[in-house]
């Protein structure tokens, strides 16, 4: 079967349950989804990029976002999109949230030269992991080689 035929066949069959599991695993632990479908190189490159991005962001003094805010309405709107970005890092975000690490609104931390860079790197890590998740899902569903 050529590539387009494979894609049409996969689309008409629907994604198997394992593909959803792989997608969930790829989101939860960056790189795990590709490991589950035996794509070692992609797991190392794509998962590694997310891990590196997240820890570089933390090392630069970046801050993670949470939906809770002193001003519920405006705080919610302002923090919604950064939270969606941060949340893409899966367990990295959840563990940080459980340990309450990286969420503090510290003036000294915000004054660091690298604070804004770190903030963006932490969001980038999550957004890149969403791409990893979709890639691993497509591979597991047979839509991509």
């Amino acid at each position: 079967m050529v590539k387009t035929e494979r894609m049409v066949a996969a689309r008409s069959d629907g994604a198997p349950g394992r593909a959803w599991l792989v997608g969930l695993a790829a989101w939860f632990i960056p790189g795990l989804g590709h490991l589950m479908v035996s794509r070692w190189g992609r797991a190392l490159l794509m998962g590694g990029a997310v891990w590196l991005c997240f820890f570089l962001g933390m090392a630069m003094g970046g801050r993670l976002n949470a939906l809770a805010s002193t001003d519920p309405w405006s705080g919610f709107l302002v923090s919604l999109f950064p939270v969606i970005g941060n949340f893409g890092a899966g367990a990295l975000y959840i563990v940080s949230w459980l340990l309450d690490y990286g969420f503090a609104e510290d003036v000294e931390q915000a004054a660091r030269v690298t604070f804004e860079y770190g903030y963006i790197f932490l969001i980038l890590a999550g957004l890149l992991n969403y791409l990893n998740m979709l890639d691993a899902f497509d591979i597991a569903a047979g839509r991509k080689s």
Binding site: M46, F121, L131, L134
Partner: protein, 50 residues
């Protein structure tokens, strides 16, 4: 900016195309785009006074 461009282009390049050669070229292209656009935007914003 270079780190940002490198990490983003690794992921975009790895998932973008069909063969390894195409992925490498695509990743390099995306990296170059990030760097060039970043530099251009940086200079444009430098001259905007507000």
């Amino acid at each position: 900016m270079m780190l940002f461009a490198a990490l983003a282009s690794i992921v975009l390049g790895a998932m973008g195309k069909d063969t390894n050669r195409e992925r490498l070229l695509y990743g390099a292209w995306v990296f170059a785009e990030f760097v060039v656009i970043g530099l251009v935007l940086g200079w444009v914003l430098y001259f905007i006074p507000w």
